[in-house]
Amino acid sequence: MQQEAVDAVLSGLKKAGVSVACYLPDSLLEELYPALDADPDIRTIQVTNEGEGAAICGGVFLSGKRAVLVMENSGLRASVEHLARMGLGAGIPVIMIMSHRGDLGENNWWAVPHGITMEPVLKALRVPYRIVRSADEVERAVTDAFTWSYTAYYHSAVVLSGETVR
């Protein structure tokens, strides 16, 4: 992951007032996780699966603090049940930042399904998202996602793609 993009994520999270980050580490965002861990303003919580991370983020929302769920886009599939129940069932939002595995240029066979399923799953859940391929668009995408989710009280997603992660 580009250092410029890592910095832009952190900057966007701070502008959005985020103080908790739940994550299940992946390889494309490899440099982001230690940066989150090292940030004194953000408490990081490593989870066992992304659905659990979504639920923890939902609980943080209920406290008045702000949380983000960081993951590979495969984690979206693992969290569908939790996202549907919390978002559609109760209006509890989760803001996600995910890596774009399986995009054109992918060179791992196991990651191809992640690219094929990501957008249909997001659309099935009616989650608005922005695919960002340039570091200079990252900060604004993060703050926009939080603004939208705290207006709609529904999930949103920023997908880090292209040169930001490769």
Partner: protein
């Protein structure tokens, strides 16, 4: 040996004042609604497996000065056992987890869960995940004692109550859905914490 969940709830409810509660689906919803009416606005009634203790943990992270109670179930906890490992590592000092273990998926008529075999021990799993204070109780006296300890603990505390699966008869049904429940709960947190969680739009 097993005990009445409703009787347990009455005991727990007597110990609660300004705590926040998140609870699972099934018969426990209406029972808690009736057993602890003073806690209705302070309780988030979540209709989902695998979310309850994770959401309660998130709430506890966001409000470290406030005691949070998770009322989970055997089916719900089995859906995401990973949360026990997360709690074991994160060690919240303000989270008390109660697991109502009636060994069945009661809300859909009672098919058995894995705990019905007698081999699956949720408290032992929790201890193995790093939650040292994880206990199983099958008497009301023990349950009450663990509530006292769990509500005062400065480490994650979990009690599995082996309940009898008998729904309390004659109780009032909760009429609200998940959206209404969320608004009631959020407004309660806002009022008691003096904060804004869901504020006004830019323009009205």
């Amino acid at each position: 040996m097993s005990i009445s969940r409703y009787a347990c709830m009455e005991l727990l409810g007597r110990r609660l004042t300004d705590e926040l509660v998140i609870l699972s689906l099934g018969g426990a919803v209406d029972e808690w609604y009736d057993a602890a009416p003073h806690m209705r606005a302070a309780s988030l009634f979540q209709q989902q497996l695998g979310c309850v203790s994770a959401e309660a943990f998130g709430l506890a992270v966001g409000l470290p000065h406030r005691r949070v109670v998770s009322l989970d179930t055997d089916g719900g906890l089995l859906f995401n056992l990973g949360i026990l490992a997360t709690l074991g590592n994160e060690r919240p000092e303000n989270l008390f987890v109660v697991v109502w273990d009636n060994e069945q998926y009661q809300s859909i008529g009672g098919p058995r869960t894995h705990t019905a075999s007698g081999r699956v021990d949720l408290a032992a799993i929790a201890r193995g995940a790093g939650i040292d204070q994880a206990h199983t109780v099958d008497t009301l006296e023990d349950f009450d004692a663990h509530c006292a300890a769990g509500l005062a603990a400065r480490e994650p505390y979990l009690v599995v109550a082996k309940t009898d699966g008998v729904l309390q008869p004659g109780i009032r049904r909760k009429h609200s859905d998940g959206l209404e429940d969320k608004y009631v709960f959020v407004r309660h947190v806002e009022e008691t914490e003096g904060i804004t969680i869901m504020g006004p739009s830019e323009h009205n």
